[in-house]
Amino acid sequence: MRLQLRRIALFALLAFALGFATSFAFADEVSGGVTGAVMARNNYYLERSTRVVAPEVGARLDFPSGATVEAVYLVDAITSASLAAGALEDVAFTELRHDVRATLGRRLTIDENPVQLAATFRRSHEPDYDSLSVSLFGAAELNRRNTAVSFRLSFLSDEVRQTFRGRERTPTTMGFREELRGAGVALALTQLLTPRAYVGADYEFYVLEGFTANAYRRVLTAGTPRPEHHPETRKRHTVAARLAVMFPELATSLHLHVRLYRDDWDILAATPEARVYTKLGSFSHLRLRYRYYKQGAAFFYRADGEYLPTDPFVTADPKMAPFQSHLLGGQLKLFLDFLDEGRFKRLRGASFDVGFEYIFSTSAYGNGTITQAGLVIPF
């Protein structure tokens, strides 16, 4: 199966590369300039035993031929004292995760219907984890642009290692090395309902094969620590639906989203979410967001944590346990369109946002906060 996945991914990549090469070759024949945007963002996540600071920068170029190029670089500075992250003793350590994402895209028209194709390559590296993923995306607007359909094919190839940290601050990498492969398909449909409303639906199937446990966590079986062991395959199904309605008289939009999830580890989850956007004057809006999440347990999870030596699968993963969470948050977004003149007029069209979200969770991870601030400058 692994060989087949690689062959399919290579074939699809080759086909897309040929398509993009053609599109760039014709770019000079079309008059017009290159447009795009640059982006800078800082992300911050905090919970009881983990803190993540993740600044990112990115740029997008739109060529007159319809070709697009986008690149994003993110670095995670993860500070943790968790045993599940490789801490040998009760001491916090910081490690970096470098994440590079590049997307090549092409916009074209087929029978008067706008079509978009894109390929995304993503590489993530940290001392004990390497991830390489490729996704191919296609979208078409049909029915006089009242209907949009899209698909995404994703391929994943990860390598998991162990790096232990103690008080001496010198990480120790063991000979442990495992692999995780994945492939998935996602289909989406969006339909305009009225001049003020649209609906959408998504279905996603993803299969994982390989090492799906944590490289550090141990489970006590009859008083003896044993490495966490999960099934080596996982098939995940996700269905989602959304509705967006605008109320112009209130300068407010309402977005409702619901997601249902099921996998062959018997985890069932439901995630309803509501967002309200309210305009504050001509150049800003406020977004309020509420998200509820509830999941059941994996079939091999034991609430009492008392596994038997004969149990084929053992886990200490909080994500395998039943829990629920409530997320409450707000975001303020400012559009700098009022900068018509003066030294900052180059920022006209830019947007700045700052947001804060609090997660109340009954899981073993506890409560958490997400803080984000970003600036996008078009050119």
Binding site: E56, P195, E204, R236, T271, K319, G368
Partner: protein
Amino acid sequence: MWRAALITAWVVSFAGCVRVAPYQRGHLADPTMDVSHENAEASFRAHVHDSREGATGGYGSSGGGCGCN
């Protein structure tokens, strides 16, 4: 799960009869209705949720390390 998918597809397919003309789409193009500009912030948020919850998907793919299995 399949029942939910079929019901959703069935409801959405009825909407295919609807036609909204281009000149009627001013509100739909408003930044509060078109959330595609939130992709960058949504990507990090999805990564947080994927590494802390058993479920995933429905918001676009995430990936990477941090136990997003």
